[in-house]
């Protein structure tokens, strides 16, 4: 699905050759500062490579409309920022920003339940803990029903239970919808548990690609 050939980005990434398969779970592991987040941003077109070729479904990524592309390949960043004061506003703004029609409140409530967020829609997001904010950010993403999800290190600043919960939710969603997940994680055990493919990225270079399933 993604094919990278001689891709360079500043002095952060230098990838000779890499393929990421469709409808699989790919985990990217490696030391911090090794370029994992930047790789996700390249795939989501939040940054463009300085040289080399990055193809998505056989076409150069630069040939796609960047906004349409990001709606297909949604990225959940490491430290999600709330869009507005209340939980409901976070849902409505997500839909407004992406040019979608607003949905009924039931839709939002169901998502909150699914993500184990025991708050009502009027709750101010300032009252949410770090883990709850992360779950709300995931709820915003799921609202858009992405086919391909890029998940950046969901465990940072979270307790272990929230971390496991979020990853499990994402993995279930991807499997149910026959989607693709590319996940950056610092945890080898998570990668071993879920990854169909594990990519080790260090100092901006691919050290190892392990196909497991």
């Amino acid at each position: 699905m993604f094919k990278l050939t001689a891709v360079k980005y500043k002095d952060i990434l230098d990838i000779k050759d890499l393929k990421i398969e469709e409808k699989k779970i790919t985990c990217i592991v490696g030391k911090s500062g090794g370029g994992k987040t930047t790789l996700l941003k390249l795939l989501n077109n939040m940054v463009s490579c300085d040289s080399g070729l990055l193809k998505f479904k056989g076409q150069k990524i630069s040939d796609y409309n960047p906004i349409q592309l990001r709606r297909e390949i949604i990225m959940l960043p490491q430290n999600p920022i709330m869009f507005s004061t209340t939980i409901k506003d976070n849902f409505t703004k997500t839909l407004k920003y992406t040019g979608n029609e607003l949905r009924s409140e039931n839709n939002y409530v169901n998502l909150l339940k699914k993500l184990d967020l025991e708050h009502n829609l009027a709750t101010d997001t300032i009252k949410l803990s770090g883990g709850e904010k992360q779950r709300l950010a995931l709820a915003r993403v799921l609202l858009l029903k992405p086919k391909i999800l890029l998940l950046d290190e969901p465990s940072s600043a979270l307790d272990e239970d929230t971390e496991k919960f979020i990853i499990k939710m994402v993995v279930n969603y991807i499997k149910e919808n026959n989607g693709t997940l590319i996940m950056v994680t610092h945890s080898r055990s998570i990668a071993d548990e879920y990854g169909d493919t594990i990519i080790t990225l260090n100092n901006g270079q691919i050290e190892n690609v392990e196909k497991r399933r």
């Binding site: 939040m46 906004i67 949604i74 920022i81 869009f83 950010a137 858009l144």
Partner: protein, 262 residues
Amino acid sequence: MDNIIDISLMQIFTAFIFVLILLIIVKREHIGGEWEIILANIRMTVQLILVGYLLTYIFANPNLVFTVIILLLMQGFAIQNIYGRINKRISTDLKKIVAIAMFTGTTITILYFVLIVINLKPWFQPQYFIPLAGMLIGNSMTGISLGIEGLINGIKDNQAMIENALMLGGKPELITKDITGRAFYQAILPTINSMMGMGIVFLPGMMTGQILAGAAPLTAIKYQIVIMLGILGSVTLTVYIMIKWGAKTFFNERSQISISQN
């Protein structure tokens, strides 16, 4: 306007007593800044004398080319002034947008004002055209300065939020809608506020000038009403163009945020 009291040279000199009082105070109290005060007064006097002679000549010889040149000079100075006032570094693209917004916004309003509202004949009659244009351009300049501050601060302060929304496939113009709306309101607020207090809290400069020059108060207020509406129109148009197009300069053609240039 025949009953206007002319001021003699001697009378002007008597007014400089206020400068003398100020100088004595800053000297006695060791506040400093005497030279700036003296320079400011010399500049004010010399600049106004020059403008007085220039306007006398231009008013006596109404000429389309002169009027247009003065309009362009005023717009040019206003644009330079905006660049100078913004102490943040702004991108070349944003500078271009500021210039385009100032030029098109003020030109459209001024032309509408002299052609339709006042129905000036000939339309370039400098006695009317120049002071009116000056007021519209001056107020638009303040509006744009405030608007650009609001825009730059709004985008910089919300950079992480904007990035988050872009990652979800958000459109830059939809994501920045709240920020541009706030910046726009911030820019037009002083104009709205001055309309609120007009006639009660203060008598505007132009109206005071007309009354001192012998115009009937009812004529003066009619001018003041239309000029305030003209100022509102000009500020609205220039700020709207600047914010609408200026917000786009924070994103590149791949809809990636490129704030470092701004």
